[in-house]
């Protein structure tokens, strides 16, 4: 028997609907397809004709897990076109809101979606029966991320307070001060998380990634910076489409991004951000990374869970610094009266899962004439297939059930958000 097919029809513990199909012939991996059957929702189409002011609220609905990322990329794009400069306190509050989303999203992935793979459970609820304190720690951390988003945005999913030019209303010192004690507690929990996950046993892997992320002169990247890679790329966001393109493959409702010219895959997300910005971590995040023995560039994707934990520490530290320094701005937002007709703009920010690119063209009195959105998971889709090809090649002696489990674990290493990528996934492994 030389033909083997492995199939997962509905990937679990990822956001959205996807599947995997692997075909093996004569102990050679012939085909790896990450299939995304999440139905398309056509955001780029129905954004046409909407006001530029609606872009943050509408694009937020692409993803319930990282709505702030969409709001931020949309705002930065519009503001670059309109020449709007937000007050420094508003800039700080945006980072605080983004920190809230990173904390919520990373805690969700580390504890509820990824840790069960390492500890051998189908889900966090089953894990909670044997490890109640662990799951409670994860939920407590997640809750602080959500509290930051609720304070600043009114609610954690699809916050209502973000607008082009700033916020509808900036919080008072009383509102921000009230969160300081819980964020201090969260910082300790995040450090405990790093120590806990660093103790897991990790499958061996060493991938040759092209890492792509933002890089900012002074800060670990979130809202601003140039797009850089470990292979010498350094461009402003406006030149993104010169270097990257989206291609459509028959097996997926999600477009796949590749490097223009070579057609090669690349990786965005925590592994890329950390590899390219290790020197920008805040002191306690830097210290915990050293303490748990995290290498400066992580090429084993199974160890991404430690990188997420280090980013959790960073995001808590960053939040505390912002909360402690906060003074409400005189005005919560800045505005533009145009002209809008013919303006073109683009921006990229760092969603929890990686680089999120938006481009718009405006017309008339500020209506969207064209929109293009490239989500982190579209960009990672091809790279995840490359990871799987390597993994299956190394693990051919495993039986189908175990190999399939390993493949699912490998997919979750990159925390794919399929809802985002569809514009965007089911596992099907064939062996021959």
């Amino acid at each position: 028997m030389t033909e083997r097919t492995l199939a997962v029809d509905y990937l679990a513990r990822v956001e959205g609907e996807g599947a995997l199909r692997v075909r093996i012939h004569d102990r050679k991996v012939e085909e790896v397809e990450l299939k995304i059957f999440e139905p398309p929702r056509f955001f780029e189409a129905f954004l046409r004709g909407r006001s530029y002011l609606e872009a943050p609220d509408i694009t937020a609905r692409i993803c319930g897990i990282c709505p702030v990322a969409y709001q931020m990329s949309a705002c930065h794009a519009m503001e670059s076109a309109l020449g709007l400069q937000v007050p420094s306190a508003v800039r700080a509050l945006r980072r605080l809101l983004y920190c809230g989303e990173w904390i919520e999203s990373h805690a969700l992935h580390v504890y509820l979606l990824h840790a069960p793979d390492f500890l051998g459970y189908p889900d966090a609820l089953a894990m909670a029966k044997d490890h109640p304190a662990v799951v409670q720690q994860g939920l407590a951390l997640k809750k602080v991320g959500n509290a930051l988003m609720t304070m600043l945005g009114g609610r954690e999913i699809h916050p209502v307070n973000v607008r082009v030019g700033g916020f509808y209303r900036c919080p008072s010192r009383e509102e921000t001060d009230a969160l300081i004690p819980s964020v201090e507690t969260a910082l300790g929990l995040a450090e405990a998380t790093a120590r806990f996950v660093a103790g897991f046993s990790f499958p061996k892997a060493d991938e040759a990634y092209e890492f792509v992320s933002l890089r900012h002169p002074d800060e670990y990247p979130m809202n601003e910076g140039e797009i850089v890679s470990n292979r010498g790329l350094r461009i402003p966001a406006a030149r993104y489409e010169d270097e990257f393109e989206e291609i459509q493959v028959p097996h997926s409702n999600a477009l796949q991004s590749v490097r223009k010219g070579t057609g090669g895959s690349y990786l965005v997300g925590p592994l890329a951000r950390y590899a390219l910005n290790r020197d920008r971590l805040r002191p306690r995040a830097d210290k915990i990374a050293r303490e748990v023995g995290l290498e400066p560039v992580v090429t084993n994707p199974f160890r991404s869970i430690i990188v997420r934990a280090v980013e959790l520490v960073h995001a808590c530290e960053e939040s505390l610094a912002i909360l402690k320094a906060y003074r409400p701005p005189e005005r919560p937002f800045v505005e533009s009266s145009g002209p809008f007709d013919g303006l073109r703009c683009a921006a990229a920010t760092e969603a929890p899962r990686g680089l999120l690119y938006h481009r718009y063209k405006l017309k008339g009195a500020g209506l969207i004439d064209e929109a293009k959105i490239v989500a982190p998971t579209s960009q990672n889709q091809k790279r995840i297939e490359d990871d799987l090809r390597g993994l299956v090649g190394r693990c051919l002696d495993l039986d189908d059930a175990h190999l399939t489990t390993e493949c699912e674990h490998a997919i979750r290493n990159h925390d794919p958000c399929i809802s985002c990528a569809t514009h965007f996934l089911a596992l099907d492994i064939q062996r021959s």
């Binding site: 189409a45 609220d57 993803c63 189908p122 609820l125 997640k142 409702n253 477009l255």
Partner: protein, 266 residues
């Protein structure tokens, strides 16, 4: 009478952003106690273990947008004693229902170079257009408190206590100054169902209708007021045609605004 065994609950996703099922995982304080009282039999976003139906309760997120999903919801209904839809997509078709007012072939071409690879319907429709729904939970996203109330009511064998009044009542209880009357800020609060806690007015902006039309909305009165405030008709049309734009009351009102707009609709 509480059931002798733990009821089997399934959480199912259709076209959506995953935000409403995430709301269940966002109940950080209630999640573990709830999980003790029910058997989560199928919840793919949270677990790789699942068992087949029948289900005592199905929570359904998302709208129907593909031929496959139109069949799948019928199977889920047939296997479920109680079916509750969660969120604007499942109850009105969601933001993706904007396709219902456009040319879907054009949409496919805008987003995808090879539209023939896609299987999609021309419309995004709520679950109730396809199967009988026992209870609809509104919101984009749903409210945590209302989700916990629906689960508690289900476990207690009683009807959920979810008000169908307007956002205005919540706004007044919160002690907000009316943004519409006092500031002239366009607000859908008077015609929108309560449930969010009137968060938009609390942040100095007008409600944008996440929870869909309230029980008895007076839309002509509100659209007249918005136009009187100086809002252009295409902008009023867009205001109604968003996350619940396919809900009948909002849809009709938007059509009426478009019909009287001299420059046509937005």
């Amino acid at each position: 009478m509480p059931p002798a065994r733990r009821p089997k609950v399934g959480v199912f996703k259709f076209a959506s952003c995953d935000g409403c099922q995430l709301t269940l995982l966002d109940c950080e304080d209630e999640l573990l106690p709830i999980a003790d009282k029910i058997e989560i039999a199928d919840f793919r976003e949270a677990s790789s273990a699942y068992t087949d139906g029948p289900f005592d309760l199905a929570l359904v997120e998302g709208s129907v947008t593909t031929p496959h999903d139109a069949d799948r919801i019928k199977t889920i209904r047939a296997q479920s004693k109680v079916l509750v839809t969660i969120g604007a997509c499942a109850t009105s078709g969601g933001i993706q229902a904007l396709r219902n007012f456009a040319d879907i072939a054009e949409y496919r071409r805008i987003v995808y170079a090879r539209p023939e690879y896609l299987q999609t319907l021309a419309t995004s429709t709520p679950i109730q257009d396809h199967v009988r729904v026992d209870f609809e939970l509104r919101g984009c996203p749903i409210s945590k408190a209302q989700l916990v109330e629906v689960l508690s009511a289900f476990l207690g064998g009683r009807a959920p206590n979810v008000p169908t009044e307007s956002v205005c009542t919540e706004c007044k209880r919160r002690g907000n100054v009316c943004v519409l009357v006092a500031h002239g800020t366009p607000c859908l609060g008077p015609v929108t169902q309560a449930g969010c806690g009137a968060i938009c007015p609390s942040f100095d902006r007008g409600c944008y209708g996440c929870f869909g039309p309230q029980d008895v909305p007076n839309l002509p009165s509100l659209t007249g007021k918005l136009i009187q405030l100086g809002m252009e008709k295409p902008a009023v049309h867009r205001f109604l045609r968003s996350f619940n734009g396919n809900a009948p009351a909002f849809k009709t009102a938007a059509d009426q605004v478009a019909a009287t707009a001299s420059g046509g609709k937005a």
